[in-house]
């Protein structure tokens, strides 16, 4: 039963990882940008929510509704002001630009909030859980996070496959110049992609911050997990990202069940095994997204 519990917790944890990862996957799929600041953006969102709750009377839900649009706008501005110009120079310069952004965010947060750990207070929800059987109970927050991940991935998939903007986003990913000839302003399309990526990773950051404590320096670990989820699942496939997140979460909780020291190692080993034996990922991409 203990192992069944570990499996359930691992799969639910995978939802959080998928939520972290889908923006990373989208930015890479559309613009070939590996956003090294991805994890720090999530942490920044958590701190912004923390301050919003401290200085106003809004609760966690209100803060979330404020933070997400702010980060969408932030993403659009970062893309059109910093990343699109860097893209013209070459792929290496976008890597350097996002690395720089990562350092700036981490240090600004250290300066502003000190290195102390904090948590987003969700009241009694933090410990409330659904009892399934004797040894298995799942936290409502984990369930909510998993549900949000599925909703976000389905919405993103529908956006990319059905909407006119999503279609031109995939077209721009294939061939930016040909998309321009159909009337697409690549800079605007890229801005929308990054806006979505920042909003989703901000949501992931908030869900994480409700369940665990956070500090300015944890961003790179979040980036690593997101990166592993994307690679395990398969680049360019949103369902792959969910599967990748769940496999990573499963590996970590099963590793922890065996011996807590193996938590992270188990995830990394799965990641390396996929890279070695199935580099295209568990779910091969049917189309670039």
């Amino acid at each position: 039963m203990i192992w069944v519990n570990a499996i359930v917790q691992g799969l639910l944890l995978g939802g959080l990882y998928a939520l972290f990862a889908c923006g990373l996957s989208l930015m890479f799929g559309v613009m070939r940008i590996v956003n090294l600041a991805h994890g720090d953006i999530a942490v920044l969102a958590a701190f912004l929510a923390y301050s919003t709750i401290s200085f106003t009377r809004v609760g966690v839900l209100g803060a979330t509704l404020i933070v997400l649009p702010v980060f969408a706008v932030f993403g659009y501005l970062v893309q059109s002001g910093m990343l699109s110009p860097a893209l013209k120079v070459g792929p290496l310069s976008t890597l350097l630009a996002t690395f720089g952004l990562s350092i700036v965010i981490q240090n600004a947060l250290q300066q502003g909030y000190s290195a102390d750990t904090r948590a987003l207070n969700v009241g009694s929800l933090v410990s409330a859980s659904l009892h399934i059987s004797g040894q298995i109970s799942v936290a409502y927050l984990s369930l909510i996070t998993f549900g949000l991940a599925v909703v976000v991935l389905v919405a993103l998939q529908l956006f990319l496959s059905r909407s006119s903007t999503g279609r031109i986003m995939r077209a721009t990913a294939d061939d930016p110049e040909a998309a321009t000839l159909s009337g697409a302003n690549a800079r605007h399309v890229y801005g929308i992609a990054t806006a979505i990526a920042f909003a989703t990773v901000a949501l992931a950051g908030l869900m994480f911050a409700m369940q665990s404590s956070f500090s300015p320096s944890i961003g790179p670990t979040r980036l690593l997990f997101a990166f592993e989820a994307v690679v395990i699942g398969g680049l360019g496939s949103l369902w792959g990202t969910l599967v990748g997140g769940m496999v990573l979460g499963l590996a970590q909780t099963l590793g922890a069940q065996y011996n807590p020291a193996f938590t992270l190692l188990a995830g990394h080993i799965i990641f390396l095994a996929v890279l070695a034996f199935r580099p295209q990922g568990l779910i091969a991409a049917r189309r670039t997204a």
């Binding site: 006119s164 279609r167 031109i168 990913a173 061939d175 040909a178 159909s182």
Partner: protein, 237 residues
């Protein structure tokens, strides 16, 4: 009224002057074929008009507006559509999605998926297939369809016969009268001179970025065209 006017247009690729002080006027509803050997500047000319290659000097006027500095995506939205060399379909999209992508910023007009399917009936049964599964001729037809989806006032066709079988070329050109019937102005670039002469009402021969011969197909003799095409006469008109 002239839909498109180029005045003294010069376009450079680094040190190379691909289009050299070219001027031309294109009346609305007309069809101009630009012919010339490889490297004569034909593709460069189309890219400058579409806006993907900025000219060094000169002006481009479209529908009475100076669009020399207008970005390519805005020109496309305003009715200048280029079918680029090499087709450039969106490989991860289906055939229908390629057409719909062409309608992303469209003018109002007669073209939609149904009208394109009527023009190229085979698209109907293959609309859900990936664009990368199409043959060369089908890709070219889909690329033309994608451009038409924007209801262009000016359609720029770059070497649509390149690399295709004679049958495929013939099928594409059979569709031309239907495209022209909607009143679209067409500027086409061809190496296949006989096809170009058949559809165009005016021909312009480029040599090293300059106009060396221009006229209606009926007025030009084969010898004149050959001379101009290969640059044998050296007499610039």
């Amino acid at each position: 009224m002239n839909l498109l006017s180029l005045a003294d247009l010069t376009v450079r690729h680094g040190q190379l002057t691909a289009v050299n002080a070219l001027s031309l006027d294109l009346a609305e509803g007309s069809t101009l074929a630009v012919i010339g050997a490889n490297g004569a500047g034909k593709t460069t000319l189309l890219r400058a008009i579409a806006g993907t290659l900025p000219p060094a000097t000169g002006t481009i006027t479209f529908d009475g507006h100076d669009i020399t500095r207008t970005p390519a995506h805005r020109r496309a939205a305003n009715g200048i559509r280029l079918v680029p060399e090499g087709r450039r379909l969106f490989a991860s999209l289906t055939v229908e999605e390629n057409l719909l992508a062409g309608a992303y910023r469209r003018r109002s007009g007669p073209w939609n998926v149904g009208a394109v399917v009527e023009l190229f009936p085979w698209i109907g049964e293959r609309r859900r297939q990936s664009a990368r599964l199409l043959s060369g001729g089908e890709q070219q037809a889909a690329a033309i369809g994608r451009a038409l989806m924007g209801n262009p006032r000016l359609l720029l066709l770059d070497e649509i016969s390149l690399g295709l079988s004679p049958v495929a070329v013939q099928q594409l050109y059979q569709a031309m009268p239907n495209i022209l019937a909607t009143g679209t102005t067409v500027l086409l670039v061809e190496q296949d001179v006989s096809q170009a002469l058949r559809v165009a009402d005016r021909v312009l021969c480029l040599l090293e970025g300059r106009t060396v011969l221009t006229g209606a197909p009926a007025e030009l003799t084969t010898a004149q065209i050959e001379k101009a095409y290969f640059g044998l006469s050296g007499s610039h008109t």
